[in-house]
């Protein structure tokens, strides 16, 4: 919400969706940016699937409005949505027939000639690691293979927006790694990805932005999610580089791409502290916001870090926008994914 770097592709205002007289989602204000990976996380029934269906125009909100590229999703807007976005449902529903018939379906109804259809379908299938299965009947596929065929059926349309509902829920661990790779590639080629997942690991690794849903409402994020890479590991620490800063984390082997630190774990001070905490980063306060009953303080340390602080503490140590301060947190507070 606050970190709107890109152009908002979707803007939701006062959106409520109702099923059987029960409000399942209620979003006051939400903008989703183009070209990024937005990950929706939350419990079952928190409204993730409903939000995706709303964005794809598969259901209409009871109140409020959804705009896509500034255009309301009405009859005209719906045509734009249909031609530019595809949703992949959680349970991979394939049509009776062969794999090729399924993957080529979207192209066929768009009037793409058979040769081109077959070529693109074969490419999409090899993109999801399934080569030479075109003639197989879908009834002979395993669960993971079905999910990948369904993914290929969506990707073959080269959509601008890919909406994925729990893409790794029904697949084996091997396919899971594959699905992550496919989402990364789609995003790298400019596709806007909006996905839901239960796997926090997948969410942290893939997201440019994490949206947390709780009982149909969007909850402000309470974690710093820092993208980067492992720079080295010795017997004491794993060193994780994100932007201009180097974090010390408990020594662990792995190909980590993101470090997560809860906003509760950060200590702000005016002077460096003599303590056991192994991460001390000097920076400048850029923003102080209300987050009742606390304050959310943003500090630029080379990357933006946010911390929850009580109003009393802010007064006592004199935290003000523009002032220098030091952010301190323990190595063990850093989780790597």
């Amino acid at each position: 919400m606050s970190d709107a770097l890109g152009v908002p592709l979707f803007s939701l205002t006062g959106v409520r969706a109702v099923f059987d007289d029960m409000t399942v989602i209620s979003v006051d204000e939400l903008g989703l940016e183009e070209g990024r990976v937005t990950v929706l996380v939350g419990e079952n029934g928190s409204g993730k699937t409903t939000l995706l269906r709303l964005l794809n125009g598969l259901i209409s909100p009871a109140t409020g409005s959804i705009a896509y590229r500034g255009q309301q999703i009405d009859a005209d807007g719906m045509r734009t949505i249909r031609s530019e976005s595809v949703m992949l449902h959680q349970s991979p529903l394939l049509f009776r027939g062969t794999v090729l018939q399924n993957v080529a379906f979207g192209l066929r109804i768009r009037g793409v000639p058979r040769d081109e259809r077959n070529r693109k379908s074969a490419a999409a299938l090899s993109g999801v690691g399934l080569e030479g299965v075109e003639r197989r009947r879908v009834s002979t596929l395993s669960g993971g293979e079905k999910q990948r065929v369904a993914l290929a059926r969506a990707l073959v349309l080269a959509p601008h927006v890919l909406l994925l509902d729990e893409p790794t829920a029904n697949v084996d661990p091997d396919s899971r790694i594959f699905v992550e790779k496919i989402i990364r590639e789609a995003s790298a080629s400019g596709t806007t990805v909006i996905m839901s997942t239960h796997s926090m690991e997948l969410a942290y690794r893939l997201c440019d932005r994490l949206v947390r849903l709780e009982a149909g409402r969007i909850r402000a994020s309470n974690e710093n999610i820092l993208k980067g890479m492992v720079e080295g590991t010795d017997e004491l620490f794993t060193y994780f580089r994100s932007g201009g800063i180097l974090l010390r984390c408990p020594a662990r082997k792995g190909n980590f791409v993101v470090a997560v630190v809860s906003l509760d774990e950060l200590i702000l001070s005016r002077e460096p502290l003599r303590s056991s905490a192994r991460n001390q980063l000097p920076g400048k306060v850029t923003l102080i916001e209300q987050a009742d009953p606390l304050l959310r303080v943003s500090v630029d340390c080379g990357v933006k870090l946010q911390a929850f602080v009580t109003p009393a503490a802010v007064r006592e140590i004199g935290v003000e926008t523009g002032r220098d301060c030091v952010v301190t947190f323990k190595a063990s507070a850093v989780r790597l994914f």
């Binding site: 949703m87 979207g106 109804i109």
Partner: protein, 205 residues
């Protein structure tokens, strides 16, 4: 005679399917008020007595009836109209219940891939084609074996509207049991043959 039976039954079954199957898709995929009640009425119409349909259509197309001027009574068309009315609720009700068992996400998945309403309708029938075929065959079976409407509306005219069933009724009333029995066997072979043929077609499609 066997040819007449086949012609009448196929024609009426097809005429019932043309509006029946698309309507069934709509009923199965849409959620609207009174849907349950409509399905209940339809399934009870499956048991519509053939003589009642015969009587209703007769009163419409007889000389004194509102459609009397068309001169339809005791023609093949009259029989086909009556039999199509008998077949229609069977096609509709059985197809609708078969399609209701499709995954509720099916139309949504098609929609997100860019399918139009018409395409969704067609794909639903294709997906449930086995069940749709069964519905059509049940309708055919119902009309090929019925005697009430064929007798009342066709008049059992030799070489014209005499079907196997009306012939059996006639032979039996004359006391020609062997003749009736032989015709009965032909009728069953006919029904069996049509069933086998259509199943083979769907399997090899």
């Amino acid at each position: 005679m066997a040819w007449t039976s086949l012609r009448f039954s196929l024609a009426s079954a097809v005429i019932a399917c043309v509006p029946g199957i698309p309507l069934a898709v709509l009923i199965a995929l849409k959620r609207f008020r009174g849907r349950r009640a409509l399905l209940a009425v339809l399934s009870s119409l499956m048991a519509l007595p053939t003589v009642v349909v015969g009587l209703l259509v007769y009163s419409l197309i007889s000389r004194a009836g509102p459609l009397g001027s068309l001169g339809l009574l005791f023609t093949p068309r009259a029989v086909i109209i009556g039999q199509a009315i008998l077949a229609f609720p069977i096609v509709l009700s059985m197809t609708a219940s078969a399609l209701s068992s499709l995954d509720p996400l099916f139309p949504e998945v098609l929609t997100t891939l860019g399918a139009t309403r018409r395409r969704i309708l067609w794909m639903s029938v294709r997906e449930a084609r086995g069940a749709v075929l069964s519905a059509s065959l049940a309708a055919f079976g119902r009309v090929v074996g019925e005697v009430g409407a064929a007798m009342m509306l066709g008049g059992n005219i030799r070489w014209y509207t005499r079907t196997i069933t009306t012939a059996i009724a006639l032979e039996t009333s004359k006391g020609e049991f062997e003749q009736g029995l032989a015709l009965g066997i032909i009728l069953m072979a006919l029904a069996l043959g049509v069933n086998a043929l259509l199943h083979w077609v769907v399997k090899h499609e």
